[in-house]
């Protein structure tokens, strides 16, 4: 345990100490990774901001020759892509990774190495995307990458591929963040922080993580289908071969619309955090704001078609999406009213974070009002794809996310630095940004109404657009100056700012419980929480906790550990050992980058090598996971004794596995939806050449075998749990054998049926469905082999069986996708007129 004579605090400092020098980057703890994440995000923000200034220069006057059409198109594509997916979503994840553990009163989130892997993938992915400026084929199809423009015929270069490459990495880091945040928020909070005592920021990130869980998979599927069309000529989006360009729009906007709220909800939660602090009173209507946050998350999935109002979709369906788009204004309204009520007669302190909050309110209300306007279908017919919409979403996104974010950066700056940002410079940066922002974007509303479309590199004179554009360009440079001043303030104050001391803003939440800057261990002990604002309501207890007199004031299992609690009432359930510094996540991210980067250049050999190395590193990582400390139960203080290991459905690891499968399942559901969508747009489905190509018997046999594989895995795992050690190799080995047989017969059946995926979207989709299941059978097989190897090494026992549970889940999911795909193939076309793919 601890060295002789070592105090609890010394032991904590020793196990949580961050490595020095270049080894610092082997750190996985949230206080380090969160900072890198923030720094990288702000770096990408600066790059995309400069791109915006280039665009505004080109548009300052008609027929400017500053950027040519191709350069402009690349610049606006990269501006949008970087801002939306390489800056906005990751920076919110970064804030969550950095601040949430402190705010929830825990030492770390449950999967620090996973978070760290996510960060490195993100950084490398963003840099690879930017590297297209060096190689030449900069993405130029817009951040929405509409097919067929982005497809192989109209963009034969690697431009689209670079975009897909960058997005793949963002997807990886988003999955990592989504698992970490959902499990972290639900399972690692200070004891007593029941859900009703959880700060709004926790609710917002929980909502956002669940949104990522369901919004990102359809985009991932879309990416895969688009890359398959580009590289393999599988025509999912080619109207001439049974595909449909609108399929891409549905997949993209099912991601793209929730994405906007994924950015906005954390921004709003930052406001709900900062505003009560500066008003010195709790947020009025806390529960209302929680409900509004969740409602926004749900409604945001019902809005995606409002990006397609002009696509010719029947008016009746448009009206439903119009209604949903207007309805989402209601939860936003709830939040605005809650903030106004909190401010009412509060005589707040006007420090910089609060200024940013007020700036947010003014700008966001305007963006919300124009949001209601564009939710009106007929009005949107006029302004969609014009500068009116550019104005609208910059009001919502800069107003709704950047202003709160900059306020929050100022607010939380003392946590890592121990210092306050300079107030005078901070106020300058705010006013420059606020004035510059409005001068830039307000005129764009008018420009849109005067007929100026978006995404145009130039425009003729005489249409009344000149002066408004010139004004906007001047405003953009003022806004840019404001951002530059803010960045300078960050850099200057990091070492030279006024020392912040303890709780400089007199806040009520746990991240301010200890001294600033934060210690590596994240606090001398973990307090028991009895209020939404522990620092306001239980000051004595918090002071005691800061002195190390509460729970977990010494490491009990030799290593870094955090406390797992029950999801709703936050009662202690387990001490979890979490990872410490190491390089495997960095190496795995680098290998992943080699795999996808080489694949982009069609260097298949290098890509395959990268894939093998990635797999090996992940296997090694998995080998060392599922740790079982030698002491079964430990005393964490105040007489609370909890286990150090658990392999049941309340375990954080199980939750993580379920979240991962839900993500995967959402991608699979998107695939089935794509199949149904293509069935709806094609007059005959399947097209005549593929009618009756596969014998029903073959399908039934395949389905039967899949079910057998899953049952074998279950039986083996179940018997093993009851002490029959032989059952695990028997069950999993049998499942693997059946999987090999399924793969063999499946592939030969599909090959014999001559499906020809390049000829039509139908066979291409069938192939993707088949490959989906085959890949998952492959993953399940690898997991089974890993579990058997671990069993042979003594790392899997009837008690230590979390990896067994996860492996069985993988078999269940693989079998489920196969059975569902087969059912779809057999049943759906058969009921849709025309013959099915099966001979009955």
């Amino acid at each position: 345990m601890s060295a002789p004579g070592e105090s609890g605090r010394e032991a904590l400092n020793r196990v949580w100490a961050q490595p020095r020098g270049w080894r610092y980057f082997s750190e996985v703890n949230n206080t380090a990774v969160g900072l890198w994440y923030l720094a990288a995000g702000l770096g990408f923000f600066a790059v995309a901001g400069v791109l915006a200034l280039l665009m505004r220069l080109q548009l300052a006057w008609p027929w400017m020759g500053f950027l040519g059409p191709e350069a402009y198109n690349q610049v606006f594509t990269m501006h949008g892509t970087i801002m939306m997916v390489v800056f906005a979503v990751p920076i919110m994840e970064a804030v969550a990774v950095y601040v949430l553990p402190q705010m929830l009163g825990v030492r770390d989130l449950p999967f620090p190495r996973l978070s760290s892997y996510g960060f490195w993938c993100y950084l490398l992915g963003g840099l690879l995307l930017l590297s297209s400026f060096l190689f030449g084929p900069v993405p130029n199809g817009g951040w929405f990458m509409y097919t067929p423009l982005s497809g192989p015929e109209y963009t034969p270069g690697l431009n689209t591929d670079f975009w897909l490459l960058g997005l793949t990495f963002i997807e990886i880091s988003a999955v990592a963040a989504c698992i970490e945040l959902i499990v972290g928020i639900m399972k690692t909070r200070a004891p007593g922080m029941s859900l009703d005592r959880m700060p709004i920021l926790g609710w917002a990130f929980l909502t956002v993580a669940v949104m990522i869980l369901f919004a990102f998979p359809p985009l991932l599927l879309g990416d895969v289908l688009l890359e398959a069309e580009r590289v393999l000529d599988w025509p999912f989006f080619d109207a001439g071969r049974g595909g449909d360009p609108l399929l891409w729009q549905h997949l993209f906007w099912f991601f793209g619309h929730p994405e906007v709220y994924i950015i906005f909800l954390p921004g709003a939660a930052m406001v709900s955090t900062i505003l009560p602090t500066f008003c010195g009173r709790p947020l009025v209507g806390h529960q209302w704001v929680v409900v509004a946050t969740i409602a926004t998350g749900i409604l945001s999935f019902g809005l995606w078609v409002h990006h397609m109002f002009a696509a010719g979709i029947p008016l009746l369906s448009l009206s439903l999406f119009s209604a949903a788009s207007m309805a989402v204004a209601i939860p936003s309204g709830i939040q605005v009213f809650a903030w106004l009520a909190t401010l009412w007669g509060a005589r707040p302190r006007w420090d910089t974070p609060f200024l940013f909050v007020i700036g947010f309110l003014v700008i966001f209300v305007i963006g919300g009002l124009t949001g209601v306007m564009v939710a009106s279908v007929p009005f949107d017919w006029q302004v969609t794809d014009t500068h009116f919409v550019v104005a609208h979403f910059h009001y919502v996104l800069i107003g709704g996310a950047i202003f709160p974010l900059f306020g929050a950066l100022t607010y939380w700056f003392p946590l890592p630095s121990g210092r306050l940002m300079d107030e005078t410079v901070g106020k300058w940066s705010f006013w420059l940004m606020f004035v510059g922002f409005n001068v830039t974007f307000f005129p764009l509303h008018v420009l849109g109404l005067l007929g100026m479309p978006r995404r145009v590199y130039t425009y003729p004179g005489g249409l009344g657009w000149e002066w408004l554009n010139l004004t906007a360009t001047i405003g953009a440079f003022v806004l840019g100056a404001g951002v530059a001043v803010f960045f300078a303030n960050l850099a200057w104050s990091w070492k030279r700012g006024r020392p912040a001391g303890h709780d400089p803003w007199k806040a009520g939440t746990l991240e301010w419980a200890g001294p600033t800057p934060l210690t590596d261990s994240g606090g001398a002990s973990v307090p028991r929480v009895r209020s939404l604002h522990p620092l306001w309501d239980q000051p004595a207890e918090m002071a005691a906790a800061a002195r190390g007199e509460a729970l977990m004031c010494r490491p009990t299992t030799h290593g870094r550990e955090t406390l797992r609690v029950s999801a709703v009432s936050a009662e202690p359930q387990q001490v979890i050992q979490v990872s410490g510094p190491g390089w495997s996540q960095v190496a795995a991210a680098a290998a992943t980058a080699v795999m996808f980067g080489a694949g982009t250049f069609h260097l298949w050999g290098v890509a395959a090598a990268g894939g093998v190395v990635t797999l090996a590193l992940l296997t090694r990582w998995a080998w060392h996971s599922d740790r079982q400390p030698p002491m079964a139960r430990v005393d964490i203080g105040q007489g609370i004794v909890v286990p150090t290991y658990a392999a049941d459905h309340s375990s954080h690891a199980w939750w993580a596995a379920v979240v991962a499968v839900l993500f995967d399942g959402a991608a699979y559901l998107a695939l089935l939806s794509a199949y149904v969508f293509l069935w709806l747009v094609n007059p005959v489905w399947p097209p005549p050449p593929w009618e009756g190509r596969i014998a029903l018997g073959d399908i039934l046999a395949g389905g039967g075998m899949l079910a057998v594989a899953a049952v074998l895995a279950h039986a083996g795992a179940g018997l093993h749990r009851r002490g029959r050690h032989w059952a695990l190799p028997a069950g999993l080995g049998g499942a693997v054998a059946v999987a090999v047989a399924v793969a063999w017969t499946g592939l030969s059946t599909l090959t014999a049926a001559d499906l020809g995926p390049t000829r039509h979207a139908f066979p291409a989709t069938v192939w993707v469905m088949a490959l989906y299941t085959l890949v998952h059978l492959g993953v399940a097989t690898l997991l089974a082999l890993l579990v058997l190897a671990r069993q042979a090494a003594g790392l899997v026992t009837p008690v230590r069986r979390m990896t067994v549970m996860m492996t069985v889940l993988a078999w269940d999911f693989a079998a489920f996708t196969g059975l569902a795909s087969m059912a779809m193939l057999v049943l759906w076309p058969a009921t849709g007129g025309g013959g099915g793919i099966c001979t009955w």
């Binding site: 006057w61 008609p62 027929w63 020759g65 003729p460 004179g461 005489g462 000149e466 002066w467």
Partner: protein
């Protein structure tokens, strides 16, 4: 307003030079000439300072036209010759690609006056 910026731009481009007496076009209105240049699309072939338009690369850019010695290499750069050129270029240089654009005499005078502001 719009005129103001164009005049400022023209003034900057012209290095604030006064237009010399030999380039004063009787009855020519430079402002009207500039509008005519924009309206008939001279930018299809020429880059014209002070007139927003595409960067035509067929004929010579007209920057500094007021300081050029020759018109199309065939005539001394004087108002009467310029007006005559604008009215019917092939009459002065049969091999030229520049067509008779159908300008009226008054329009040609305005355009000439405008061209001499480009110094």
């Amino acid at each position: 307003m719009r005129m103001a910026v164009i005049l400022i731009a023209a003034a900057v481009l012209a290095g604030c030079d006064e237009i010399p007496p030999e380039h004063r076009v009787a009855g020519g209105d430079a402002g009207a000439g500039r509008r005519t240049v924009a309206d008939i699309g001279c930018a299809a072939c020429h880059q014209v300072p002070g007139v927003a338009g595409p960067a035509g690369m067929v004929g010579p850019p007209l920057k500094g036209f007021g300081r050029r010695a020759m018109i199309a290499g065939v005539a001394a750069n004087r108002p009467e010759a310029l007006v005559r050129w604008l009215l019917d270029p092939p009459a002065m240089a049969p091999g030229t690609a520049m067509p008779d654009l159908g300008l009226t005499e008054a329009q040609a005078r305005d355009v000439a006056a405008f061209l001499y502001t480009l110094r």
